[in-house]
Every structure is written in structure tokens, then in C-alpha cells.
């Protein structure tokens, strides 16, 4: 029977200098990482740039990997930190897009129904603060509040509070739609 090497074993081997383990680990997680970057940024091009940044920095970041820690949690923390860096740069130079705020003009919907859904998603995301978007990106990726808190460096209670705020914002959006 063929044994599948765990993520944690690959990460430890990669941290010790095993290039094949590193390549295997990245190949295994790239698609999920890219999807997470998209949820953090709201545009394909920003997600691609962010993923590229992370790929370039990942070998050095392996030094921060704690043995036996969940690889996804560590990887998402790296991604969130890289996203925050990009946002700071964007705030400084104001030369990039606003991510979710600009999404609707960057994406071509193929039909009206899809277009309406995307509009709703864009409106919903753009109404949330950056902290709430980050939190949602993790929770919508099926992370528990505890895991999301670990990634974002806040308590589980803070994540629960943020999710409550996100739900309020979505409810308000729904009520607004009902009036119009």
C-alpha cells in the first residue's frame, strides 16, 4: 500500500532543506492558497500577484514553521501577512485597485443571473471592513473560529464577534434590498 506523506512531514523536511519535499508541499497547496488569496483580495490579478509574493518568500518563511503545527494554518498566516503588506503599500502609493471595490468592473459576467449574483457578492464584501473580510475569507474556507483566530493572531472570541458583525452587515443589506 502506498503511504502518503503528511503535510507536516513535508514541511519539516522542507524546512531542513529538502527541495523535493518543498516542491511537493507547494504543489499540494497551491490551488487552495490561490483561492484564499482571491478571497482576500477580490480580483484575479491581485490574487496572482499575492500568490507570487508568497511563493517567493515561502522558503524563508519556513523558518517560522513550528514542528507539527497544521500546515494550512501556518500557510494562511503567511498569506494574511503578505496581504497586509500589499495593502499597506497600496495605501501608501494609491496606485493599485481597491480589490473588492473594483471587482465589478474587472470581471465580465457571462449572463444576467450570474451578473446579479456577482453584484450582490461585490456589494456585500465591499460593505465590510478589511478585518471582517479577512475573517470571512477564513471562515468561508471552513476554518473554525479558533483556527481563524490563530491565523489572524486574535482570540476565538474576537472572530466570533467579527462574524456577528458580518452577519449584521449582510442582514442590513438584505433589508435594504427588500425596500428597493
Amino acid at each position: 500500500m502506498r503511504m502518503i506523506t503528511s503535510d507536516e512531514d513535508l514541511a519539516e523536511a522542507a524546512a531542513a532543506g529538502d527541495g523535493a519535499a518543498f516542491a511537493s508541499l507547494l504543489d499540494r497547496h497551491y490551488d487552495r492558497l490561490f483561492a484564499f488569496c482571491f478571497r482576500l483580495t477580490g480580483t484575479r490579478s491581485e490574487a496572482e500577484d499575492l500568490t507570487q509574493d508568497i511563493c517567493a518568500a515561502l522558503p524563508a518563511k519556513l523558518g517560522s514553521y513550528q514542528k507539527r503545527a497544521k500546515v494550512t494554518t501556518w500557510l494562511y498566516r503567511v498569506a494574511v501577512n503578505a496581504a497586509h503588506d500589499r495593502r499597506r503599500k497600496r495605501a501608501t502609493y494609491a496606485k493599485a485597485t481597491n480589490g473588492w471595490g473594483d471587482w465589478e468592473i474587472q470581471r465580465t459576467a457571462t449572463n444576467n443571473d450570474m451578473s446579479e449574483k456577482l453584484d450582490w457578492l461585490t456589494v456585500a464584501m465591499s460593505q465590510l471592513s478589511q478585518d471582517l473580510r479577512d475573517t470571512l475569507a477564513l471562515v468561508l474556507d471552513d476554518m473554525t473560529h479558533a483556527q481563524a483566530g490563530e491565523v489572524l493572531g486574535v482570540s476565538e472570541g474576537t472572530i466570533s464577534w467579527r462574524m456577528s458583525e458580518a452577519k449584521k452587515a449582510l442582514r442590513a443589506l438584505k433589508e435594504q434590498e427588500g425596500k428597493t
Binding site: 497551491y30 522558503p59 524563508a60 501608501t92 496606485k95 449574483k117 457578492l121 449582510l170
Partner: protein
Amino acid sequence: MNDDLNKLKSLMDDATPKPDHVRRTAHIALAQDSFAVFHQARNAKEAAPTGTIWQRASAWLQSGPAKGLVTASVLVVAASLFLETPPSTNQLSAPVESVEPAQEGLVAEFAAPAQMITADDAPVAARMAARSVAVQTSYDAIRAALLQGKLPSQSDVQIAEMVNAFAYDSDTPEIDANFAEAIESFGILLRDPQAVGDKGYDDVIARAQANLGPDISGQRAEAVMLMRLAKDLSQ
């Protein structure tokens, strides 16, 4: 999860694109290159000779790559430094070549290339690799022009690329942002000296100098040196 969140998750799942195959391959290749550079630097550090700075400098000057990089002018400056503080085993005997006074200090400042870096510096090596691979920065073109004693042409100065080349360091984000801002102003100055109003080279240099951060690779200090060189050349 309530209905609103379920709706959001469903829409988000539908909206999330698959990665482009070509970019996926390129990103993984970039990561592997960065990985190789990172571990080469780490291995080199482990094998690095110990000793005084003078012993290490002498060893470096005799190494193959260094011979190609060090000009006679640099050796003149280095030799003068050695004479002021003679090491016990000074093996420098390079022929003397005249150095223009205005350039002499600058040449001395550039006498320590990346090979001299022996700090706890493996992450920096990865960043440098990432810079050269992922960001086709204009920094090298600017550096080359300035070291040849001329200001770069405007087409050499790609400001966004310069900023990207220096801005990323997640350990010190605020300092990074400030330093990157100084780099941006520097780029603007090179392209159009009138564009930044009163914020001339002195201001840019002061801001960069105040936001060097850990700079264990010395790249940022080198950028400040380039700013000083550009200032000298512009006068």
C-alpha cells in the same frame, strides 16, 4: 452558518477562479529558485570562515568572483584603509590607479558587495532572488548608470518596480512603507527633478536613512548610497 453566510459562501465558491496553469507553473518554479538560493546562503553561512573582518576581507579579495568584481580603484581605497589600520597579514599589492576625488568616497562605499554578507541573512538571500526573478526592477540599471558616473535615462527609471524591489519585508511593515516612499520619491527625482517640489535629494536621503530598518543585507544602505551618488551627479 446562517442563510446569509451560506449564500455568501456559495457565491464566493462560484466566483473563486481556478489558477492559471502557466502562472501556477511559474510561481512554483519561482519558489523552487528562491528555495535553492535560500539554502545555498544558509549552507554558505555554515561553511563561512571565521576570523577578524580583515582576515575575511583578505580572503574575499583573493577569491575568484571577487577578482572580477573589484576594480583597481577599489583596491586603492581599500589599501589606504589598510594602511591606516594595518592588519597583521596585509596581502594587498594592487597597482595604484588614479581615482577621481569626487568618485573616491563613493567607490569605497561600493567596495563591499553581496558576497561579503555574513549576517543571519538567509531570508534576505531569498528576497534578493525573488527581486531578480519576480520583479524586473530598474534598480540595477540605475545602479549601473550611476556607477558609470552618469544619471540614468528616464526610461531606466521604473518607479513601481524600484518600490517593489525594496518594499517587501513583513517584519517591519511601517518602516518598509516609509522606506518605499523614499524610494518612490527618489525615482520621481531621477525622472523629473522638478516634480517633487522642495523635496530634493537631501529630504529623500534623510527619509530613507531614517527608515533603513534591520537591513541585514545592506541593500537599503546601498540604495541610500545611490541616492547620494545621484545627488552628487546632479550638482
